[in-house]
Symmetry: C2
Subunit: 486 residues, 2 copies
């Protein structure tokens, strides 16, 4: 006993000693009522200070493991009662429902593209953390904590932290949204927002209209909720309207899920005319819309189109889900839904039943950061940086990759369509061997198509490596084109 | 135009001017290509500095509302295109599914007890924010941000922030949990943890075994997932084992949901013997267990029983959901599940599909706070404070409220059973008129019972008002007893 105790790592010695003794008790080495060595004795035995032993004993007493008896010493006061025979093992997998199994199967972090450090990874569209404005974040935290730290740390409201709600409503008003009759709900990012809406919506036809290709996480969430995503082909200015009309004519939809700006994965911005036409057609067929405001802020040129929810004016058919994750800080999970006030009321109750509320601390930090006027400054800087990378990516793709077409008017990625004889996954395999990875486009398609497409995310690739990476991809594409006889 | 512009509130004048002009554009008062007044002119007109106007114009230009044409001035560059005729209104309520409607119906924040400021509210069991250790929180934030602020603000992992996961696993080991074969998932508090498990579990019998009464939020979540909670009567040392045997004999259960320590609402601590017996019986019937670790830390006396997951030893049938919300900071939504490693893998994928991950900033803040050694110090202080209130509450109830029985061995509330002729809701009504509210017990019962019970939460009632409040309740109970002829 005690002869294998060694302190290691950075946690305080007394904590390590406490854990060590706990283990001895748990393993039955020190049974109930066993007397512990005196603090002086143990300090000598272990070669640690007596204070360390005293602190460890005190901590063990506080957590109920030992008991100090005046004048007699310290005694083990807890027997860890295990069942003599642990209950039979549960086969958890066999107990799980469809949704758990499917979520694992569709989990790209588990079954997606793997890469190693040092590779050029065009797989991410997360923001570049080197751009983060740490000073602004610290200031915002300290400012808000000084004002109402106790409020931030206690329970908040499911709908959200009021100053942030007000800020974002006014931000949405600034995008042209008619606020009357609408309300806002703060969520744990886009993902929770979309999940809440799909939890709320009843299944009638079980079909959701969307762009094809579309956001892979959205496809996953739709399928997990038992909805079938029905995609409509994308053209350079948005959905193919002929196909949309045909699909709408073929049967009802419970919902449409649309990303009109910097669409993921194609980077396409739907034109103002198509936005209007979309709203008109979906209105005629009484299909409500979930608008994904994804990256709307990452506009590199002057052109800007109002979001669908603004185009709909006083209409209530569009629910807009927003997030600054791809621009500000994805690590703090804050997004929002602006929609019909009645709908928001139900989503609020669902949210309360699911996560009580989004971290008030995060909401307050974000609010104060915005309120301090950091957002526009930061956005300006981020746009400049990303624009430079964007232009490098566009130029690099054009110069080096033989392709059928390319899209991407902004955002953090471009989308490349190769010759149809090629398989992007086989291109990927060769590229990986040469130290470059990207996202094969097929995961974004609702109909099993897109095997010859790829998404090139550039936000986290260092500027000086963008061209290098694209040249390597181009080399592999050329090689495989030759092999296929084109 | 411009004559109704006034700055108000604390947001910078240029932002207010920007919003004002946006509104003029949105409302069509300033149409496309309309020329804005010069900055000098507008500054004079509004009585603001020229810098304010210049900043507002710059912000409008950045967000695409106006365009500066060299030598000619500023022009409206965006027409807010609304549909001439907004699409038809959607009747959202009619589009919603059972779950959204039920979550609203069962939403206590919407349909629960209302009270006004100044009343003595025994309704809350949230921690007392006056106890919050703000200095420790600030230090933890600054410490961690200095170490790896950029990592905290970018995307993290669904399973959790590694240092926190490790800390909590070792914390659970300290409670006697055998870690081998188990793993941990960080969640947005208990609520998300329980919701994830119920999302994952397939419905076979659709029945969940639980204590009667039990946590109202848990009842809500079970019902929202289409499970029927089947409650077993509580005795002073845990479930009535006879009833448990009978109920288990009557038919299968998909799960058991149990709160062995400081059970909500009764405050009962299940005895070590009953814990073992529970595990044995549930094991025989192959019923897996979700253990709610609720308030396990709020032990005011020496007695302490190991959690079920520790008692189960190497068995894998217990999934433990923990949270420090009622002790540390509920505003940052961090909880955890420790369970069979295979199960955690599926829950992780579900979590990723639902909220990506829990705020890394919050996890890191909590980790650093714990790592800095604040927890035990804080817990000691909180226990001392709450224990005083607990004793006041126990004494006050005994002295002033005529009752059949009372329970509560710790935690932040006690549970009172009145004479069965009484209706706690009618007691509540009279009490509210006298400035005191509490939680009527019926909401915690799975079988419509408990109409003569009440939960008295004392954590947020100032010490000096606890007795006063209980005396008022006692007065009303006495009055209603007399009226009922007892």
């Amino acid at each position: 006993m005690f002869n294998d105790f060694r302190t290691e790592g950075e946690s305080p010695a007394y904590i390590q000693l406490k854990v060590y003794i706990e283990t001895l008790i748990m393993q039955g080495v020190m049974p109930l009522h066993h007397k512990l060595p005196s603090t002086r004795e143990l300090a000598g035995l272990l070669g640690v200070s007596r204070t360390t032993v005293i602190s460890a004993y005190e901590a063990l007493e506080r957590t109920g493991w030992i008991e100090a008896v005046k004048g007699r010493g310290n005694f083990v006061s807890r027997a860890v009662a295990h069942l003599e025979e642990p209950p039979g093992m549960i086969d958890w997998k066999e107990r799980l429902g469809r949704r758990a199994l499917l979520s694992e199967e569709m989990d790209l972090m588990k079954h997606g593209i793997k890469w190693e450090k040092g590779m050029i990874a065009f797989t991410s569209i997360a923001p570049d953390e080197k751009l983060f404005d740490m000073g602004g974040v610290k200031r915002a935290f300290l400012d808000r904590m000084a004002l109402e730290g106790d409020v931030l740390l206690n329970y908040g409201y499911a709908q959200g932290y009021r100053p942030l709600m007000q800020y974002l409503m006014s931000y949405m008003r600034g995008k042209g949204v008619e606020a009357k009759g609408k309300d806002i709900l703060i969520t744990n990012g886009f993902t929770e927002g979309f999940d809440l809406v799909l939890t709320a919506i009843g299944r009638r036809t079980g079909r959701i209209l969307c762009e094809n290709p579309t956001h892979q996480t959205a496809i996953k969430i739709m399928k997990l909720h038992g909805f079938e995503p029905v995609g409509v082909r994308m053209e350079q200015d948005g959905m193919d309207m002929e196909e949309l009309r045909r699909v709408l004519g073929e049967g009802g939809f419970d919902l449409a899920y649309l990303t009109p700006s910097y669409h993921n994965p194609t980077g396409i911005v739907t034109s103002p005319e198509k936005r209007m036409e979309l709203l008109r057609l979906l209105g005629e067929h009484e299909v409500p819309v979930v608008e994904d405001g994804f990256n709307e802020e990452l506009r590199y040129s002057g052109a800007h189109a109002a979001p669908l929810i603004a185009c709909a004016g006083t209409g209530n058919s569009v629910a807009y889900i927003g997030s600054f994750s791809k621009i500000l800080f994805p690590g703090i999970r804050v997004g929002w839904i602006v929609a019909d006030g009645g709908l928001i009321g139900y989503l609020e109750s669902l949210k309360r039943a699911r996560t009580i509320h989004t971290s008030t601390l995060d909401q307050a930090l974000l609010f104060q950061y915005l309120h301090n006027g950091n957002f526009e400054r930061y956005l300006k800087r981020a746009r400049t940086e990303y624009k430079r990378k964007y232009e490098l990516a566009i130029r690099g793709c054009r110069e080096h990759i033989p392709m059928k077409s390319m899209s991407g008017e902004g955002g953090l990625h471009v989308f490349v369509e190769l010759d149809e004889s090629l398989d992007a996954r086989s291109v990927l395999e060769e590229c990986r061997a040469r130290g470059v990875v990207f996202t094969p486009g097929d995961i974004f398609f609702t109909d099993g198509g897109g095997r010859h497409t790829m998404r090139i995310g550039f936000s986290r690739v260092p500027e000086e490596r963008i061209e290098e990476g694209l040249r390597i991809i181009g080399g592999v594409v050329n090689k495989q084109l030759k092999a296929s006889g084109r």
